[in-house]
């Protein structure tokens, strides 16, 4: 077991190396560059036996991963923000073709104006491309999720691509302690990918041929049922990972929600900071808990319903906005509660766009304002906006 103090970006690189990615194709973009720099070194030194295609764009990065995955190879890439946006078409391709490509996305705001700091609009904008989406909140989780993502995505019942997101700078450029298990143990957890469907000289088939309306619809049905299946697989793999390596993961992380009357629903590093806020408020006697959202796609509806059934108030804090609507996690959380008999009150707060720092004090104030019922309902609650 090796424990190291490393950047979030390097946690991605180590994760891809220890997962034994076979083909890597990537294009540099701030703040992702360290991911590909270290992976280039791993490939050059032979520490990782993989082909690294240094493509001319992110669109090609994803296209190369698609091609590699079609042969049954384990394919990996990393990007951020505008790079992810450029990939959009091929994100659909990877998912519709059922290629379990894994990608790390450094959550960075979209321009213009240029902004290299964190928010989730880049990945949230890709919500309908059919990718599993994981949101990490520590470097350890980044490393662990890279390993788990392959296992989840390559599962026969899933066979979909997966994206893990980490906040620009707050994780990407922050050094933290990361515990990396021995390679043999990782290999046991994550054996080589044995593709059920692949391009094969012995069994030559056409992939992605024109399909008329008489069958296309059914394929979409299967994509959705695979996403639903992924809910179980995420939990199963998270448990297996925990049993092996001591760190358990699920669709969400519940923090001090046992007797909570009000809960915060948060993702990314703000969720980690929110734990500190919950501790502070608990000391003051407030019955508050936290649900840290690890997955956005598939959305853990059942989980949310179960948690919501025991609380009176929910505050969803989003670091993204769907213009003309509201924060993405807020929409999803509300939507899955609509048919419940005893719905808690629910408010949405938008915070920290473009990397504005979110402090413990911000979160404690938000929780208190929610407790006092002072948020607007059916409207966005902007936090700290200068008008």
């Amino acid at each position: 077991m090796v424990k190291k103090v490393i950047y979030g970006n390097h946690a991605v690189s180590y994760g891809a190396k220890d997962a034994r990615a076979e083909v890597i194709a990537a294009y540099p973009i701030t703040p992702q560059t360290q991911v590909v720099e270290l992976l280039s070194e791993f490939c050059a030194s032979g520490e990782l036996n993989a082909k690294f295609i240094k493509v001319e764009s992110e669109h090609s990065a994803m296209a190369a991963c698609v091609g590699a995955s079609a042969t049954g190879a384990r394919a990996f890439t990393a990007t951020s923000s505008h790079g992810l946006a450029l990939m959009h078409e091929m994100l659909h391709w990877a998912s519709n073709a059922r290629h379990p490509v894994v990608m790390a996305n450094i959550n960075r705001a979209m321009g213009p104006p240029w902004n290299i700091w964190t928010d989730q609009n880049d990945s949230i904008a890709q919500r309908d491309t059919g990718w599993l989406q994981f949101y990490c909140s520590t470097n350890q989780e980044v490393y662990d999720t890279t390993l788990m993502a392959f296992k989840i995505c390559e599962n026969d019942k899933v066979l979909l691509p997966g994206m893990l997101s980490l906040d620009a700078f707050v994780l990407s450029h922050t050094s933290e302690v990361v515990d990396m298990p021995p390679q043999e143990e990782i290999d046991e957890f994550l054996p080589p990918y044995n593709a059920k469907y692949k391009l094969d000289l012995e069994d030559p088939r056409a992939f992605g041929s024109l399909m008329f309306p008489d069958w296309y619809y059914e394929l979409k049905y299967h994509q959705q049922t695979s996403m639903e299946e992924a809910l179980k697989v995420v939990e199963k793999v998270g448990k297996e990972f925990g049993d092996r390596f001591g760190r358990h993961y699920g669709l969400v992380e519940e923090y001090r929600i046992e007797d909570a009357e009000i809960i915060l629903v948060v993702s990314g590093t703000i969720a980690q900071t929110s734990k500190e806020a919950v501790d502070v408020l608990r000391k003051e006697g407030m019955k508050v808990g936290l649900v840290r959202m690890r997955t956005f796609r598939p959305f853990p509806k059942e989980k949310i319903r179960k948690i919501a059934s025991k609380v009176n108030k929910i505050i969803v804090i989003d670091r993204s906005i769907s213009f003309g609507s509201e924060g993405a996690f807020f929409t999803e959380t509300k939507a899955c509660l609509y048919n419940e008999k005893d719905r808690p009150e629910i408010w949405g707060v938008i915070i920290g766009l473009g990397g504005r720092d979110v402090t413990v004090e911000d979160i404690t104030k938000i929780a208190k304002k929610g407790k006092d019922g002072k948020f607007k309902i059916n409207e966005i609650n902007w936090w700290g906006v200068k008008l």
């Binding site: 103090v5 050094s175 302690v177 590093t269 980690q272 720092d357």
Partner: protein
């Protein structure tokens, strides 16, 4: 003190290695069983321009992922920054400031803060770290930090240098040790 969250801010100029200093300090504290974080000021670093970096350590797992606003101590890699940056901003009462300077600590006044000085530039040049015009002082100043603050041992800093210094590991360790011994003030 050691049981609590402890936060440090580093001031330097782009290219001086402030971020590496924060990372080495974090690595050293980790070697002594602490949970740690090190990060640059989230921005665009340009050579020669003022930069800042941060280090957080705690005996308990650290959850907060915010920037550091009220550091326990401050490390200044370049004394010319004192004229352009409010380096003591947010420093906790009775906090410590470690400055790379050939002057005596008593020549600086930061109110209640305890000031330490070390001629890290001279030490770096002596050990062949960087050039006379562009000395790499980040390892030397960490030796001074170890003595002044006392929550990370010089031995751990030497080990961390071994892990994180890209080259001249021995020279860097010697520089840290020399600064540890020569620091003034407090």
């Amino acid at each position: 003190m050691e049981e609590e969250l402890y936060e440090v801010r580093f001031h330097g100029r782009g290219g001086q290695g402030a971020v590496t200093a924060a990372t080495i300090l974090a690595d050293a504290a980790f070697r002594e069983g602490k949970d740690v974080q090190a990060f640059p000021i989230f921005g665009v670093e340009r050579r020669g321009a003022p930069v800042a970096a941060f280090m957080r350590m705690d005996a308990k797992p650290i959850d907060i992922k915010t920037q550091i606003y009220e550091p326990d101590s401050i490390v200044v890699l370049d004394s010319t920054l004192l004229e352009v940056v409010d380096v003591a901003k947010g420093l906790k009462e009775n906090g410590k400031i470690i400055i790379n300077s050939s002057k005596n600590a008593s020549e600086f006044d930061f109110g209640k803060a305890k000031v330490y000085t070390i001629d890290a530039t001279a030490i770096a040049v002596k050990h062949g770290l960087g050039t006379k015009t562009n000395p790499i002082v980040n390892t030397a100043i960490l030796g001074a930090y170890s003595k002044a603050v006392g929550n990370v041992s010089i031995e751990a800093i030497e080990e961390a240098i071994n892990e994180k210094a890209p080259r001249k590991k021995e020279e860097n360790k010697k520089a840290a040790r020399e600064a540890y011994e020569k620091i003034r003030g407090g």
